[in-house]
């Protein structure tokens, strides 16, 4: 074969090598197919593709069926012959949830809460993660153990205590001790205010790096910063930049993909959150959140006398669920690129 190799010079920087000029394209394909490796590759590829398709189906199908359900009237839902394609196409479910359940207020409240807490959480876990990854100080490992501890003690264990803590809000002092000792807030303000039914508890927890899954965010950030080479900062220090300036001007811009990942997690988990809403928002004055939508059937759609009402209620709930996640889906479509990128670039090391 080698003897027939023809090398021709096409342009100044380009050569064209013709290996064995005799073989035509057809012959070459046939030759390739004869080797068993190619067949294996084709089979593996098909198998892999089908498998991925199957798993994707399991993930996507519930949403498809929910979407189909959301356009059905009560008659369609009862009708066993109707599945996936509604006979009487209707927007009523969406319309009445939107109008009668006050979707816009809920959306505004949730957007405000989720975006601010997610921003605070991202920034705080960025700070803490950077401190843990790049600085050797006494107790560094101990602080990391604390991060793991807040990760593994579930907040449902602390539920009751957390509720009491924010009902008689004071820093440094447990809620059960309220007779003689005074905490920081009481010394300043004179009373222990209740900050439940406001968004304050979420902010307090976020600033302290203690909100939902904050341990995970700090861990992700720490691993990310461990992968950033020390030479970057060293050269900045040599050039006379201080620690904080280095952090703000060199490290932060680098970590944007990871920050987007953390932001996305924190934003979407607080968007769909139910647990903290139940703990902190109990009274009538509590903000109306998106996750409240699934609990209330719009009065117009509530046909109490109908036998099929329980079934229909589930369909309404599904529709409400879709309306809750719709903004998230739109956001995810724009951000999913960064989600993988951020983690990939981090080069996480256990």
């Amino acid at each position: 074969m080698d003897s027939k190799t023809v090398v021709t010079k096409e342009t100044k920087n380009k050569i064209h090598v013709d290996f064995d000029g005799k073989l035509t394209l057809k012959e070459r394909i046939l030759y390739k197919l004869k080797t068993s490796n190619t067949w294996m590759k084709v089979i593996v590829n098909i198998f892999r593709f089908v498998l991925m398709l199957g798993v994707s189906y399991v993930i996507i199908f519930p949403f498809v069926s929910k979407i189909a359900n959301s356009f059905m009237t009560l008659d369609d839902i009862v009708d066993a012959t109707v599945s996936l394609i509604p006979k009487n196409f209707t927007f009523d479910n969406y319309k009445y949830i939107f109008l009668e359940n006050d979707y816009m207020t809920a959306f505004g409240n949730t957007l405000l809460l989720s975006s601010t807490t997610a921003l605070i959480q991202t920034f705080v876990s960025c700070l803490v993660g950077y401190g843990l990854a790049k600085f050797k100080f006494k107790g560094n490992n101990f602080v990391f153990v604390l991060v793991v501890v807040i990760m593994i003690i579930p907040h449902s264990t602390l539920e009751l205590a957390m509720r009491d803590f924010f009902t008689k809000f004071d820093l440094l002092l447990p809620a059960s001790m309220d007779q003689s000792t005074k905490g920081i807030i009481e010394l300043i303000a004179g009373t222990r205010p209740s900050i439940r039914d406001t968004m304050a508890p979420f902010y307090v927890l976020s600033i302290g790096g203690l909100a939902f899954k904050n341990g995970l965010y700090i861990y992700l950030m720490r691993q990310f910063f461990k992968g950033v080479p020390d030479e970057l900062e060293e050269s900045a220090y040599v050039d006379g930049s201080g620690t904080f300036r280095t952090f703000l001007q060199i490290i932060l811009p680098l970590s944007i993909p990871m920050m987007i990942t953390v932001f996305l997690f924190s934003f979407s988990w607080s968007w769909t959150d139910v647990f903290y809403r139940d703990v902190f928002f109990e009274g009538l004055n509590a903000p109306w959140m998106l996750s409240n939508l699934i609990e209330k059937v719009p009065p117009t759609l509530n046909m109490v006398n109908n036998q099929a009402m329980p079934l229909y209620r589930i369909a309404i709930q599904n529709t409400a669920g879709l309306m809750i996640i719709a903004p998230l889906v739109i956001m995810y479509l724009f951000c999913q690129r960064y989600l993988v990128q951020g983690i990939e670039r981090s080069g996480l090391v256990g």
Binding site: N45, R48, F49, M52, V55, V58, I59, F61, S83, V124, L127, V128, Y130, G131, L132, F135, K136, F137, N140, L146, I150, P154, S156, T157, L158, E159, M162, F165, D170, P174, A175, S176, I207, G208, L210, L216, Y237, T243, F265, S268, T272, D273, V274, S291, I294, I314, Q317, A320, I325, L328, Y332, L333, Q336, V340, E344, S346, G347, L348, V349, G350
Partner: protein, 364 residues
Amino acid sequence: MSNKFTDACKSFFDSVKSKFTSKSSEKAVGGEALAIEGGNTFFDKVKAFFKPKRSLDKTKARAGYFFVLPFLLGIVLIYLPILFDSIWYSFTVSTKGASVWDESLGQYVQTQVTTFVGFDNYVQAFSDQDFYAKLLSSLQQILFQVPAIVIFSLFIAVVLNQKMLGRAVFRAIFFVPVIISTGVMEIVNLNDSLQSGAGEGIDDGTGGQGGSEIISMLDVQALFANMKIGTELVTYVVGLVNDIYSIINYSGVQMLIFLAGLQSISPSIYEACQIEGATGWETFWKVTFPMISPMILVNAIYTVIDAFTRTNNPAMNYASNQAYHNPIPGVGVAMSWIYFLLVALIIAVVGAIASSFVFYQRRD
């Protein structure tokens, strides 16, 4: 030109230098040399207190404290009080005391008498048969799901890491559950499946019988029944197949972590494998698996944590329900602490097992 410039600079610096040296020598003559170098005046001392000369390590250590400060403050000011309360509740019983006139409110206020009862709440929690059953089933669920989720997410991450048709689309789809199927959607899905009486077919998350039309539980069982591999394994596999929806849903973060780990393996190692003629199978077990093993440890622990902090966890739900509806809230809190301790034990065991085979690449 450059010579002229440097010469000019030199002469300039020399003149500046000579000025300074002459000044200091003058002062040294005056007997005030220490004041300049050591900082003897009051003002210098104050300055030295606020801006002392430190080594770089010390400065960096202080900066490190500053960076973790929000978290440390959070722990001390918020977390410890809450933690204390939670533990305190589990050891106490509060009963209604006498009504006391409250001046500021202008009405009678019910006082609460809190008594320390030691481990009574814990004993009571253990004697609760319902809790016992829920605890067992929860732990069983965790032990069942953890290996399945870790293996599944590793497998999917390995596949997603390869070049294939539509990889970007599949990646986007696979992380949908992490973002969307949480919190309120879990409740929606649960109600959905309860309503349509799932349990006969495979739970595909639609709640309908969509899954069971394609393949039913009985088929799966029949498939494995003739294999003579023991009933335990059959029930395990059948359980996994039944749980496929939740397994896929709960392996999103793990997949991300595995993908990150896979990306951090140097391509040159794979190149070397290819040159040496290793098959894909060999490459996976001899290169990928050891290199990814720290991630397996992380993911195993994360999965345990995730599984038991989940909101739809039966034991946790029961415990928090008890905390609100039991006349003694302490019992519910005690239950959740018992559960936490058991899971902490599981985490320790999983960590110990996994870390025994973890391989850390030396990075020099």
